[in-house]
Symmetry: C2
Subunit: 253 residues, 2 copies
């Protein structure tokens, strides 16, 4: 039996990046896509509890089913796993995201939210992102690397409780130097809002921001990407800072 791959994203079911992922997956697996109806970037790990979800069938052929759902990326992945996959998926893929999810961006990313949720459900999962925000981004140079990493994970599995955050530099195929396994660089978004005045004279604030990375050693994803490599960061859904447990024992009562 061919493997079953579930695909989602946060740019919406019609995004070019998702279709690029389909292409790679359909060569080797049966594919089910369930992705948001519209752009859901920045939705992180959010879930929808205040209203029910609707699902629209976009395409249903042998080997490929595509559904659009009006929920978040995490909703899409969970709902597809429980109700739309004929069996437990062998692998969950998310992306290819239009824009970086390296470093601190993993926190905000709906693409990576879906990946982390899949990990929590015990599934192998990989998120892919290309460092190009354009809806017309060119995904062809990414595909051999996507295929390499998908093949590796299907053949070897991932360590328990681990998923992969893969970012791909915006380069021509021959300029990409290879693949590096890294940790997240330490960074943050500063100067996050622009204050403006509306035509009625009332203030509003619009999210913007400046990415500031002050620590990108050679072992980090930001270094890899800046130097022409695809970055692969193993991530997990446990936020505990284990070293700090001992340092905080004085808090105990």
């Amino acid at each position: 039996m061919r493997p079953l791959i579930l695909i989602t994203n946060d740019d919406g079911f019609a995004a070019r990046g998702l279709r690029a992922l389909d292409e790679v997956a359909m060569d080797i697996a049966d594919v089910i896509v369930m992705a948001p109806e519209t752009n859901a970037s920045g939705q992180s790990h959010s879930i929808t509890t205040s209203r029910p979800l609707r699902v629209r069938e976009i395409k249903k052929t042998a080997g490929l089913e595509v559904y659009a759902c009006d929920g978040t990326p995490v909703d899409c992945g969970k709902l597809a796993t429980e109700y739309f996959c004929p069996r437990r998926p062998d692998l969950v893929l998310s992306g290819i995201n239009h824009g970086s999810n390296s470093s601190i961006n993993v926190l905000y990313s709906g693409t990576m939210g879906a990946v982390i949720e899949a990990t929590a459900l015990g599934l192998d999962a990989i998120g892919f992102s290309l460092l190009n925000h354009s809806p017309e981004a060119e995904f062809a140079p990414s595909l051999p690397y996507v295929k390499h990493i998908v093949d590796y994970v299907l053949a070897n599995g991932l360590p328990p409780n681990v998923s992969l955050n893969v970012n791909i530099p915006r380069l021509e195929a021959e300029e990409i130097k290879g693949v590096r396994v890294c940790h997240e660089a330490k960074a943050r978004w500063l100067d996050s809002f622009e204050k403006r005045i509306d035509p009625q004279g009332r203030p509003y604030w619009w999210l913007t921001g400046k990415f500031e990375c002050d620590d990108a050693p050679q072992s980090s994803d930001e270094w890899a990407l800046a130097n022409g490599y695809v970055s692969v960061v193993p991530i997990h859904p446990d936020f505990t800072h284990y070293e700090a447990i001992g340092q905080l024992k004085a808090l105990q009562l």
Copy 2:
């Protein structure tokens, strides 16, 4: 000068849990509250990019300013830090959440999203949650523990890049046994959706779910809470699984 404490939550500016936190904070600090207009539970680390944010002044007195914002908890914390705090806050508090944010729940929680964002911005931050979902929950038994932990952090600071996820059992004051510093228990939400049929005969899916925890050793938050303790989990915004980096080196090209 009195310390400055910034408070937010995900239950909305009018929630009783937030007012309980105000009470503790106002005894020791100047307080600025910026919290969502309405319930924003389950919004995790999401941010609002597709529309601007509006802010409504609820109250402005010496020592206490309260604002409601139509953004997510992360939006609220960031916007208040940049535009509404007269100086950098000494501490960011989030909560007291109506309902548990222990274990895997930290992933979905808007309350904890705001805490993790504050950490990324280099601020000390603590999230508080009571294991009682009711809007009428009784917060009085929580307050001495909130005060103990806030006092500790104001006096000692937190280790770099670490914030605290504090959960409080639903018990009478005399039944709470103390405070334990823990790690997250491993758990997940299963059977997440209920499929229903609307009056027009069309299907919809509503999020529900069963909390399943299969590993709650004595060192974990679930054990502490089930045994009458307040749990304190140090968390951090780096999702890297460092041990897995070595295990995945075969992926490199």
